[in-house]
């Protein structure tokens, strides 16, 4: 059965909420998952309902982020450690060192370099970039940079700006610019003109964005020689409801609820085997790690004094899916062509020899769960 109307989608959300009733974590709206998987969950995305689904997803994520506390952040960090994933600081380091390589290629004395961080949060990614630049004694480049920080939470933006302005690489007399930008109703870049940014970075953000519209906007705002550096976490467990059964089992759902869930989505024991058959070993490993992370996170949340507003469903996808979206949004993903580009020159030398994807794995390809994708705009010849 496939549904299309917003009423039916809201009804599906209510059903899913009821399945998770009394469990340590609520699912959130199905609209939160990456849009290409909605069909597998029985939701057909149409021109009529797309806007509604996109807004529902966005509201859910923004509400979740606004209610974030130090406690919940600590719980997430601990869960990533327990799942052998380390944490976002390692991903940020990798994004930063890649970004600095691109900056070194862009640098010319006197040239203003505009860098945008999409989903700044507390400024961790820009802080990591400044750390790397300080390490390479790139104070001269920093002076020529304008950093645009995009973040829906005004408090976090304020904290990020204050923090970054005090970074050790900043010299008193000449500072780089830090321009904070909030977002309203998903208009990430506000009224900024096209082709303004030399470098756009983002770390652990895009798995919160269900539709790829943001990639088109990013492409518009990037210069023709600019670079987009994405650090993120990847998994396919939201791809199909069959992957939720181990989650329900792992977080203590009663057997009756699980059976109800399986009946609703017409699942049987063959589903996961069939789905896994199409995955590479690294992707299967990534899914295992994501399950571990979810179980550890749920366990941590049980110890919190105040019930957390963290929700289960996310917009993770595979690296291949992400690359496909980037290509459709007008980015160059061919390793061969990226090698020809000046700004990517020193970055691409870090790709796996013979590798066909512009992807730098955080864990040396043992599992595909986290890494950096560096791309640039596809320029028509």
């Amino acid at each position: 059965m496939t549904i299309e109307t917003t009423r039916d989608i809201a009804q599906l959300d209510r059903f899913l909420t009821s399945i998770f009733e009394g469990l340590p974590i609520a699912p959130g709206t199905i609209c939160r998952i990456a849009y290409q998987f909605l069909e597998n969950w029985g939701v057909r995305v149409t021109d009529e309902n797309r806007g509604w689904i996109e807004r529902r997803s966005e509201k859910s994520y923004i509400r979740e982020w606004s209610s974030g506390t130090k406690e919940t952040n600590d719980a997430i960090e601990k869960a990533t450690r327990e799942a052998d994933l380390g944490g976002n600081s390692f991903l940020n380091t990798m994004v930063a060192t890649t970004a600095v390589k691109a900056l070194l290629e862009m640098y010319e004395p006197g040239r203003r370099i505009r860098i945008c961080d999409v989903g700044t949060g507390a400024g961790d990614t820009i802080s990591a970039i400044l750390d790397s630049m300080q390490s390479y004694r790139l104070q001269d480049i920093v002076k020529q940079c304008s950093f645009y920080l995009i973040e829906p939470s005004v408090d976090r933006l304020r904290h990020a700006t204050r923090r970054l302005e005090k970074h050790g690489i900043i010299e008193r007399r000449v500072k780089p610019e830090f321009i904070g930008m909030g977002t309203t109703e998903g208009r990430i870049f506000g009224d900024l003109k096209d082709g303004i940014f030399d470098l756009i970075v983002s770390s652990a953000v895009f798995h919160h964005l269900s539709f790829p519209t943001y990639l088109n906007r990013i492409n518009d705002k990037l210069t023709n020689d600019g670079a987009l550096i994405i650090g993120d976490w990847y998994t396919t467990i939201w791809q199909h409801p069959a992957y939720m059964v181990p989650v329900l089992q792992g977080i203590g759902a009663e057997q009756e609820r699980i059976v109800e869930f399986e009946r609703f989505f017409n699942l049987d024991t063959h589903n996961i085997r069939e789905l896994d058959g199409k995955l590479r070993l690294e992707q299967k490993e990534a899914n295992k790690r994501m399950y571990d992370y979810i179980f550890h996170m749920v366990r941590e949340m049980k110890t919190l004094k105040v019930r957390s507003q963290l929700l289960l469903f996310e917009a993770h996808e595979s690296v291949d899916d992400r690359l496909g979206k980037l290509e459709r949004a007008g980015f160059e993903i061919s390793v061969e062509r990226l090698r020809e580009s000046t700004v990517m020159k020193s970055i691409v030398s870090g790709f796996e020899p013979g590798g066909e994807r512009p992807y730098l794995s955080l864990f040396r390809k043992k599992h595909d769960i986290a890494g950096v994708i560096p791309v640039k705009k596809k320029v028509s010849t």
Partner: protein, 377 residues
């Protein structure tokens, strides 16, 4: 009973010199924070250079006792925290987000420095050995390996590098192992107390020793640094990231902190009575602006920590102790120099020509609070 000063030396106001007097001081200070989650702790944990300002007269006779007492209390603190982590399944929330962010920046900076130093040291060597001293969850080693991934020379270099992570907590090292198992680096872990491990290590066991957020837990640094120098190969490096502060240099500053932690007037009065003569506002002459900023940052960090503790679920958590061995980065440089390390910037650049980074780096502009430094054996 107060002792009389030796002949020829001017008497200090209520100075303590004997073991009994020092224990009596600690006991009296216990009452100031009795029943509170954040306690003063023992004065023996203060950096040895600060003891005089707290009325402790460090002599040849009492030095061994004070040293032993500081070790005893630091070991007990560490064990309490490890026991808590084991039983509660979580780390004790003792730091603010700002402090954690600074520590991450230091780890990143140190990872870069260590890799650049290793590039110099690798010539003519089959294996390079790096000790992560008091590694905790292995954050520093992992940051070092991630940096190496982004550069072909360093990726190649790491095939010749063996990391040894040392900590007293097996649980923390297991966290480190699980992450490092996902990388391709060679490493081992060992659960042992740092002093015991160093004593049992041969001369020149390591090419590089790195340590993050640890030295401020050492009241007496001289002998410790000399031991570190012994276990590092000649020409090797010590890379230190730590928090520096002069907050503990004067009881007056600590009284301000206690007031900021909302200690009642009666207890503040008791503190002033115990530290009579030493509770006057200290002169800032000779203190740099960045050191003043660091002291203020440290104070604010404690006040923020106290607020955060109030929001965390209680599970018989151990107390947090204020008095520690923090010093200024200048004092640290002096300690390193006295221990025989080379700290001169020009000489370090010559010794490690592949080191692109500054050998002494302040993480926050204008503040001495978080600093990374390199010293050459």
């Amino acid at each position: 009973m107060k002792s009389t000063p030796p002949p020829g030396k001017a008497p200090t106001i209520d100075s303590r010199r004997t073991e009994d007097e020092i224990v009596e001081l600690d006991t009296a200070l216990c009452d100031v924070t009795r029943g509170r989650g954040i306690k003063l702790g023992s004065v023996a944990k203060l950096a040895s250079g600060n003891l005089g300002r707290w009325g402790i007269d460090l002599t040849d006779e009492n030095r061994r006792f004070v040293y032993g007492r500081s070790q005893q209390f630091y070991d007990r603190d560490t064990q309490e925290r490890i026991d808590y982590e084991f039983s509660a399944g979580t780390d004790i929330p003792s730091h603010t987000i700002d402090r954690i962010e600074l520590e991450t920046s230091m780890a990143r900076t140190m990872g870069q420095l260590v890799n650049e130093i290793l590039l110099t040291l690798v010539e003519g060597k089959e294996t390079l050995k790096v000790l992560d001293l008091v590694a905790r969850h292995g954050h520093l080693t992992v940051q070092t390996t991630i940096h190496a991934q982004m550069d072909d020379r360093m990726t190649e270099l790491h095939r010749n590098v063996e990391f040894l992570l040392l900590d007293t907590s097996a649980k923390r090292l297991r966290d480190a192992e699980r992450i490092l198992n996902s990388t391709q680096n060679r490493y081992e872990t060992t659960t042992e107390k740092d002093e015991v491990f160093l004593k049992n290590s041969a001369d020149g066991s390591f090419d590089v020793v790195m340590s993050l957020g640890h030295f401020h837990n050492k009241a007496f640094l001289g002998d410790y640094l000399r031991e570190l120098k012994r276990v590092i190969v000649p020409g090797g490096a010590l890379v230190v990231g730590d928090f520096y502060s002069n907050l503990w240099r004067s009881p007056y500053l600590v009284r301000n902190l206690l007031r900021g932690l909302a200690l009642e007037d009666k207890r503040l009065g008791l503190f002033e009575e115990i530290m009579k003569g030493y509770c006057k506002q200290p002169s800032n002459s000779g203190i740099t602006n960045s050191e003043l900023v660091a002291g203020d940052t440290h104070l604010q960090d404690w006040i923020e920590t106290a607020k955060n503790l109030g929001t965390i679920s209680r599970t018989a958590r151990p107390p947090l102790y204020l008095l520690k061995g923090h010093r200024t980065s200048r004092e640290m440089v002096d300690e390193l120099t006295h221990a025989g390390f080379e700290i001169d910037k020009g000489k370090l650049s010559s010794a490690f020509p592949k080191m692109r980074s500054e050998p002494l780096r302040r993480i926050t502009s204008g503040s001495d609070f978080a600093v990374v430094m390199v010293a050459k054996r």
